[in-house]
Symmetry: C2
Subunit: 194 residues, 2 copies
DNA sequence: GCCTTCATGTAAGAAGTTACATGATTGT
DNA sequence: ACAATCATGTAACTTCTTACATGAAGGC
């Protein structure tokens, strides 16, 4: 195809390339570090997608030769890539299809669990999400310190980064709250509520 | 395989069958209504999975003949199904792999959007999630009224249903909060923050 | 006449994960 | 010696979605 449209993964990649030119390898690590909490992709998915984006004219690449390490292909977003991304941003997402959470599924069958193991699971998950929350709050602090007022300038990519991070923070807070509540109920229940 | 293990979808099905015997068709509608906010599956995925579960000895079925409508296969969880489910519940989930949210991805590229369209998108999504929250809170109220103290008896399936629902409520509250915050920032920004 | 509900399946394709494959440099 | 980082790809597989296929009963 030569059209100006792509998959959701494609838009995730374009969103990163709209900020800076990157290699496939760098994109993969940015995926983990920057947008990892709401979209992930392995390099095995990224490389083919970059090829398709280039076929569609949304990105281009040039080879950067390096002496000490392997050469790399640095990808840059094109005007038509910017156009496609800008259009996609405000299109309503087609229903929140993929909301899959295995822990909530486990909660749904919690009545079958051994109480001590169940408490351990939810205390453990509470801790996992508390750590993640702390991590996000550290990034938040860094953004506020380094970027100052830019984080509230809606025409700046910094605002967009900050806004996405806020979703992560709110989500983790809720997750911690929920895990703690479940664990407390289980602990209270252990005493024996007939 | 004749072993006592299955996929996550398999456990989702077992979680429903642990409460009541159901046909594939009923399972599909329960998936939408009961566990739809944290796990979904179409009938095209459910029917083959039921066959696999039966091959693994985790469920059995018997045909119920009906005069006014098509005959159906009613599936029942087996002892070995209960055992597999009970074991799985307290096993730690293998990292929260699938946390994909297209709206957060859009937020990440919001700086490229037309401000009015962006506000419209987030006000719209705020409304969508507010409605969903209201729906969940209605179910919560129904559970509290109909089930009374059972919802806090951790050995009861009603507690498990209530706990899963709580995750949905907390999540939607956070989502609404975030959408409103983003929309407010965009509206404030429209005036012109230099 | 047409749509919805009930009822069960298969087929084709898209999306995502895990594993295979290679190879240099730098740090422990 | 061993592992990690940088760097790019392919192959096989699982998972999930969309579409195809059929057919009766009941409501509008």
């Amino acid at each position: 195809m030569t059209e100006g449209s792509t998959t959701t993964l494609g838009y995730a990649i374009l969103g990163l390339l709209a900020r800076e030119a990157l290699s496939g390898y760098d994109l993969a690590s940015r995926m983990r570090a920057r947008v990892g909490f709401f979209w992930q992709a392995r390099h095995s998915q990224i490389y083919p997608e970059l090829t398709r984006l280039e076929e569609g004219g949304l990105v281009t690449h040039h080879v950067v030769e390096q002496s000490d390490r392997p050469d790399k292909k640095v990808y840059r977003i094109t005007d038509s890539g910017f156009a496609a991304l800008s259009e996609w941003v405000t299109e309503p997402p087609p229903g929140p299809r993929a909301a899959r959470d295995e822990l909530v599924l486990k909660a749904y069958s919690l009545w079958l669990a051994e109480p001590e193991l169940a408490v351990a699971l939810f205390r453990d998950q509470e801790e996992v999400h508390r750590e993640r929350l702390l991590e996000y709050e550290r990034i938040e602090g860094w953004m506020e310190k380094e970027w100052g007022e830019d984080i509230l300038r809606t025409e700046s990519p910094r605002f967009a980064s900050y806004a996405a991070l806020q979703r992560g923070i709110i989500n983790e807070r809720g997750y911690v709250e929920w895990c703690r509540w479940v664990a407390e109920q289980l602990e209270r229940g252990k005493g024996g509520a007939g």
